[in-house]
């Protein structure tokens, strides 16, 4: 019982964290806490199998999935907690409180019989007992869950799959396009230079210099450019100036 009274408030707090966390990642972590708490609750209530499954499936698999998706979408986003629908938050709170109160009252009315306990049912071991049920009484449902899982997997693949809207670009296509661009705009058809070629600077965020001394923008990785962490022309010229100054002998630290 002690365990329960220690865990329960923690779980409730963590659950409330779901409501108030600004960052989705924090919410996910709160949820993980609740889930682990629940696993312990299961264990307390003579359900060792579910304890294990809860840890493995929920905390292990599902939560990880959540985190993956969060990362895909952007981990560091914060949600605005300002309510946009008029009265929604108040109404939700009122209904929620009423619901909780009502259900508590209901529980007081419904749960009256004494607890039987699972000693008898778990006599042959909890896992064996569940297995006996799953493969006898609930075998049809079990088979259906199997079908459901497969459907879900296929469904996830279909949903996550991006439909190809144009014909696949082969290397030949790429070459032809490069040559055309070279003919029309004079863009260099060869491989873009890697960062640092002809460089005086070895930062990956600084464009390489072409043989004529101009910077090759493409040499900076896309992700850096999109985040805006690329150094601009000015930066580069500043860096070049700095390099010349160093050449002249100003032994100053460039950082």
């Amino acid at each position: 019982m002690t365990t329960f009274w220690v865990l329960a408030p923690l779980m409730v707090l963590a659950a409330l964290g779901l409501l108030f966390a600004k960052k989705a990642v924090h919410a996910a972590l709160c949820l993980a806490v609740v889930m682990i708490g629940l696993a312990v609750m299961y264990a307390l209530q003579d359900a060792p199998f579910l304890f294990a499954v809860q840890i493995i499936v929920y905390t292990g698999a599902i939560m990880m999935l959540f985190l993956f998706v969060l990362m895909l979408i952007g981990v560091d986003r914060t949600d605005s907690l300002v309510e946009t629908i008029k009265g929604q938050r108040l109404a939700a709170a009122v209904v929620g409180v009423l619901f909780a109160v009502t259900m508590s009252v209901a529980v007081g009315q419904v749960v009256v019989s004494s607890t039987v306990g699972l000693e008898e049912a778990n006599a042959d071991g909890n896992v064996e007992g569940l297995a006996a049920l799953l493969f006898t009484r609930y075998v049809v449902a079990f088979e259906f869950t199997a079908a459901l899982m497969i459907t879900a997997v296929l469904g996830a693949m279909v949903l996550a799959h991006r439909e190809r809207l144009s014909p696949r670009r082969t290397q030949i296509d790429v070459q032809r396009q490069r040559m055309r661009e070279y003919a029309e705009t004079g863009r260099h058809p060869g491989n873009p230079p890697t960062p640092g070629v002809f460089a005086r600077h070895n930062g990956v965020d600084v464009p390489a210099l072409l043989p004529d001394g101009s910077p090759a923008e493409e040499s900076v990785p896309d992700s850096l450019r999109k985040r805006g962490q690329e150094r601009t022309d000015v930066d580069i010229s500043a860096a070049q100036r700095r390099a010349k100054e160093i050449e002249r002998g100003d032994e100053e630290d460039p950082s």
Partner: protein
């Protein structure tokens, strides 16, 4: 032969149907077919009359059934027609005068492009009128009653392009409908009381029922009779009805149809015998109409309207006589017949005059026509003598008998009838003076000429009948003849010897004539004096004693405004309630629409709240 009475109706009906269905191809000879049909019916009627004459007095009522009209468990109506002493006289009047007017119309309507249709309607009228008088059942009688109403409607409005004619036709039909309501309710009462509407059965049994029922029947039938016979208070249509062609006025609105009310009262003798109250009402109606009609006749300048007022007045005499009970029935019919002759004669004569004067009806534009139209003048003059009751003429006998009977009944009623006779003499003399004597007041380009012989021959025949019609009274023939139908007339004590009364009446008539001759001997202005320049009596007479205005206030305006109000109520009130409900629902939906934000979270809140409600409900059920 007497069983073939349905043929009397069938022949003119067939004529009408033929002319209407045959269409324009029969334009050339349609009028001849119609006249022949009418004449054939007259011949048949004459044969039947002769056969009746040859029978025993108690064997003169022959009812023959053509077929069943309505047959249900409780209600049974047959197309049964009775030829008896009363109906055979009417058959002769209708077909006889009818045929003469058909002949006259050949000339009168010669230039009307719709002459065939006119004759079809005339035949239709004859058929309907015969149905009316031959019917052995009140419902069949009602069939004829409405049939003549329809024919009257069609013929008054014959010149449909004239709005006044169409309005007059409508007025006639609708006012008659008011009377018809009385008829219909009377027939329903008969059905509810006796289980039958047979005329003979009802009149035979009416003595057994309560006086209230008999009185109700009598008054209801009287309402119908007032409508059809243009008696006060339903008289207003008759003057307007003069919009119809003059032969129509002669046949329908003088000689036959308008007397149907009198026929109805006499036919329903059993009912009126059973109710003193109903009879009194008939007398009052008759007397009032008699005086009102004469009053109007004095004031009008339109020759046809003078004659129409006179018709009302004369039918008032008949009604008065009919209201006297068995003492007067025979005289009512007697006067009806003689009036049919002389009034038809005079209407046709008026038609002849109008024909000569380019359809001008204003007597103030006539004058001195006796030389221009000698035959018309002569025949009209004989009719005039008959109507004022010149001794020896038919009207003298018939009117005199009514006055005597009225005097025997009640001194004041008799005096009223005598005053009526004096006024009759006055306005008829006024008409004669203004039309045939005095100076010429013809409009320009009017060249009066005598009518063709096809028109004058009927005039001559009718004039002869006007003079000789009194012969029916020889040896009280008509009283004896009608006794099986009308009942035996008790001999009443007169307040004075007959000869005194007759002399008094003649004196009154002479006074009326003299007054008119003196007033209208010359210098009649050719335009009517303005209303403000004439006496209040004349003014009221010109305006038909304001009955149209009274009807307007009592009936027309209430209906008009009720209708407008109801139209408004229907659109705003009843329909408004329905559409208003629909609108409210629409508005409520618009309000509810706001809750459909489209946000998933709103809907989720709804679901959650719903779950809460369900749980609360469950709790309430389990805990309660």
């Amino acid at each position: 032969m007497l069983e073939l009475s349905w043929l009397l109706i069938a022949i003119p009906l067939a004529g009408a149907a033929l002319l209407l269905l045959w269409g324009q191809r029969s334009d050339a000879f349609g009028h001849l077919i119609a006249t022949a049909a009418s004449a054939a019916a007259f011949v048949l009627g004459l044969v039947m009359f002769v056969e009746l004459l040859g029978r025993e007095a108690d064997d003169r009522s022959v009812t023959s059934t053509l077929g069943t009209w309505i047959e249900t468990a409780r209600f049974h109506v047959e197309f049964a027609f009775t030829v008896d002493q009363l109906s055979s006289l009417f058959v002769l009047l209708i077909t006889g005068v009818g045929t003469l007017i058909h002949v006259y119309s050949i000339g009168y309507m010669a230039h009307d492009e719709r002459r065939r249709r006119f004759f079809a309607y005339l035949n239709l009228f004859v058929a309907a009128m015969l149905t009316l008088v031959l019917a052995a059942d009140y419902l069949v009688l009602f069939l004829g009653w409405e049939g003549v109403g329809l024919a009257s409607y069609l013929l008054i409005g014959f010149w449909q392009h004239k709005p006044s004619a169409a309005a007059a036709a409508n007025k006639a039909f609708i006012m008659n409908r008011i009377g018809d309501v009385g008829m219909v309710i009377a027939i329903m009462t008969m059905f509810a009381t006796f289980g039958t509407t047979s005329i003979a059965a009802v009149n035979g049994a009416v003595g057994d029922v309560s006086a209230t029922t008999a009185t109700a029947l009598g008054l209801l039938l009287l309402l119908g009779a007032c409508g059809k016979s243009a008696q006060v208070p339903l008289q207003a249509w008759l003057l307007d009805a003069m919009e119809g062609p003059t032969p129509v006025s002669a046949l329908i609105h003088a000689a036959t149809m308008v007397t149907a009310g009198v026929y109805l009262v006499v036919r329903s003798a059993g009912i009126y015998d059973a109710s003193e109250v109903a009879r009194t009402f008939v007398i009052v109606v008759g007397l009032v109409t008699l005086l009102v009609g004469a009053w109007i006749g004095c004031a009008k300048d339109d020759i046809k309207k003078v004659l129409a007022g006179s018709t009302m007045s004369q039918i008032g005499y008949m009604m008065l006589a009919a209201g006297l009970g068995p003492a007067g029935y025979a005289f009512a019919i007697f006067h009806l017949l003689t009036h049919g002759f002389f009034k038809a004669n005079m209407f046709l004569g008026a038609g002849s005059v109008m024909h000569a004067m380019d359809d001008d009806v204003d007597m103030r534009h006539y004058g001195a026509l006796r030389r221009a139209m000698p035959i018309t003048f002569a025949t009209f003059g004989l009719g005039y003598l008959a109507i004022i009751g010149f001794p020896g003429m038919s009207g003298f006998f018939s009117k005199d008998k009514i006055i005597e009977a009225a005097l025997a009944h009640n001194l004041w009623i008799g005096l009223g009838a005598m005053i009526g006779a004096a006024i009759t003499a006055f306005y008829m003399t006024r008409l004669m003076m203004m039309t045939f004597f005095g100076e010429r007041r013809w409009r320009d380009r009017v060249h009066p000429h005598e009518s063709p012989s096809v028109m004058t021959v009927p005039l001559i025949v009718l004039a002869a009948l006007s003079v000789l019609g009194g012969a029916l009274y020889l040896g009280n023939w008509i009283g004896d003849w009608l006794e099986p139908v009308a009942g035996h007339a008790e001999h009443h004590e007169l307040p004075a010897p007959v000869i005194v009364i007759q002399l008094a009446v003649v004196a009154l008539v002479a006074a009326g004539v003299a007054l008119a001759v003196w007033l209208f001997r010359s210098d009649v202005p050719d335009t009517a004096p303005a209303d403000t320049d004439v006496s209040i009596l004349t003014r009221a007479g010109r305006h038909e004693i304001y009955t149209n205005e009274v009807n307007g206030v009592l009936a027309v305006f209430p209906v008009r405004y009720l209708t407008r109000f109801l139209v408004w109520l229907d659109a705003r009130g009843i329909d408004g309630l329905v559409t208003g409900t629909a609108d409210r629902i629409g508005e409520a939906s618009q309000g509810l629409r706001a809750t459909q934000t489209g946000y998933v979270r709103s809907y989720a809140l709804g679901i959650f709240g719903g779950a809460l409600v369900v749980v609360l409900g469950l709790l309430a059920v389990t805990l309660g």
